[in-house]
């Protein structure tokens, strides 16, 4: 992504809005955009989801491969989460080798899902030491109007929960649903005009400072945190967004669990 020029006017405008407790699109500080989750939208994927948050749209697809277990973990399969933001998603994204931004995106989403332990890798073993399932979650941005992190995380866990292990195609038994025991959910906060807001749009990201991503699992257990970009925040600010994350994550979790 080419470093976008941020006009001082945009930053000043965002700062003005913040001091009047307003946002570019008339949302409150803690309001998310309208969020829509659709399941089973990709005919070739073994599990899939499309998430629409305002003008941000992402796809998640799950595929399975046979892998040889790692020598030190002969009874375990694997989970891989890969994220691509290609030029379709916005004029500020370019094709080519993955940018640091998109690598950070993929890794933060991966950590939240992996560390929640929602997928039992022991369950993915087929023949110890020889064959195991590798679950591959591919995240693909279609339209980036900000907060790809939350959209990817939501689509990712929804696609996994909807996935079927294609054992018949690989001639090793019957198709079974992938077991997913938990529902980790990510909430992201951007410092815009001097205060944190939830679910920033692209222009808020552009004219904002640091961001904080929180992934909470069932029972509000924390599974991943990430602070990105330049900026300083206080313990009190963090406590406030953590409180909001708890309530918002449980709303979104209900949406995923249907």
């Amino acid at each position: 992504m080419a470093a976008p020029l941020v006009p001082k006017l945009l930053r000043a405008h965002l700062s003005d809005l913040a001091s009047n407790d307003a946002r570019l699109d008339d949302r409150g500080q803690w309001d998310g955009r309208e969020t829509k989750l659709e399941i089973g939208v990709l005919p070739r994927a073994e599990g899939s989801a499309r998430v629409t948050m305002g003008n941000t749209i992402v796809l998640a697809g799950v595929k399975f491969q046979i892998m040889t277990p790692y020598p030190d973990r002969p009874n375990q399969g694997g989970l891989m989460c890969s994220c691509e933001v290609r030029s379709i998603a916005g004029r500020h994204w370019e094709n080519g080798p993955p940018s640091p931004q998109s690598i950070e995106l993929g890794r933060v989403v991966d950590r939240g899902i992996r560390e929640s332990g929602c997928i039992d890798v022991d369950d993915l073993c087929i023949i110890p030491g020889e064959k195991a399932w590798q679950v591959i979650l591919d995240l693909h941005a279609i339209s980036d109007d900000g907060n790809l992190f939350d959209a990817f995380a939501l689509a990712g866990i929804a696609a996994l929960r909807n996935a079927t292990i294609p054992a018949e195609r690989f001639e090793i038994g019957e198709d079974t649903p992938l077991k997913v025991s938990k529902t980790p959910i990510m909430c992201s906060y951007h410092k815009v005009g001097g205060r944190f807001v939830y679910d920033a749009s692209y222009r808020e990201e552009l004219g904002g400072d640091e961001r904080i991503h929180i992934t909470l699992g069932d029972d509000d257990h924390v599974h991943s945190l990430q602070k990105g970009l330049k900026g300083i925040f206080t313990a009190d600010e963090f406590a406030e967004i953590m409180e909001h994350a708890k309530s918002r994550c449980s709303e979104l979790r209900d949406m995923v669990n249907g």
């Binding site: 749209i57 595929k63 691509e84 030029s87 379709i88 279609i142 109007d145």
Partner: protein, 238 residues
């Protein structure tokens, strides 16, 4: 082209495995404005193919060495998403996607009025999110709808359709099984208002009569698909 002639793909009534007659195309839906942040966009489903295309521009062409003093340049990328195929597709460019990107650009450059936008770039991103067979045709057709949705001046839309041969019978718009075992494939890009061509490829084995039949099927199918494209552009989903 597998050419496994012993796999029976046409029944005694001349119907194909999915119930189509030889000249029929698969069901098609076209929707515009599906990428809200883009200047123009199109989602096209064709059988279980799905292509999403976004158009950005005309915008500044950089690096400067790609600029042309007298016209715009088209920056076309065709990409298959990792989850678009039965076996996962490794992300990134490969020789196939590079070739398809190039011939798609060549086809579109023949209709876009490039000279109206000197020194600028129009970016066309084609993402195949579900692949069955004939993705290059779906990508090119959807790209021309997305360009129109972006308001880029063109002399005509481009409709791309392929015909081929299975069990020695010429059929239009091969599906996945037919493509795997088919004996020939002839994709074409047609300008529906003039009947001229801007894209042509072929591989396999066709006799002169079979070639004529495949050509005619493509021309007829192109006119049919063109109606759907116009409907989609005139107002919402068809």
């Amino acid at each position: 082209m597998g050419g496994y002639g012993d796999v029976q793909m046409i029944d005694d009534d001349g119907l194909r495995m999915d119930g189509r007659k030889p000249g029929d195309v698969r069901p098609i839906t076209i929707e515009t404005g599906v990428v809200p942040v883009a200047d123009g966009s199109c989602r096209m489903t064709w059988g279980t193919n799905e292509a999403i295309v976004a158009v950005y521009g005309p915008m500044e062409a950089h690096p400067r060495k790609i600029q042309r003093q007298d016209r715009a340049v088209l920056d076309v990328t065709y990409n298959m998403a990792p989850f678009s195929t039965t076996d996962r597709m490794r992300p990134g460019f490969n020789r196939r996607s590079r070739e398809i990107s190039k011939v798609t650009a060549d086809a579109l450059e023949s209709v876009v009025l490039l000279e109206l936008y000197p020194r600028s770039k129009i970016r066309i991103s084609i993402e195949i999110v579900s692949a069955e067979a004939g993705t290059r045709c779906v990508g090119l057709t959807a790209a021309s709808v997305a360009l129109a949705d972006a308001g880029i001046p063109m002399t005509d839309l481009v409709v791309s359709v392929a015909s081929g041969k299975i069990n020695d019978v010429v059929v239009c718009d091969l599906n996945k099984e037919e493509d795997n075992y088919g004996e020939a494939d002839l994709p074409m890009g047609v300008l529906p208002n003039s009947g001229e061509l801007v894209f042509l490829q072929m591989d396999g084995d066709l006799s002169p009569d079979e070639f004529k039949q495949a050509w005619d099927y493509n021309m007829d199918a192109a006119m049919e698909v063109h109606k759907l494209m116009v409907d989609a552009l005139k107002g919402g989903e068809n």
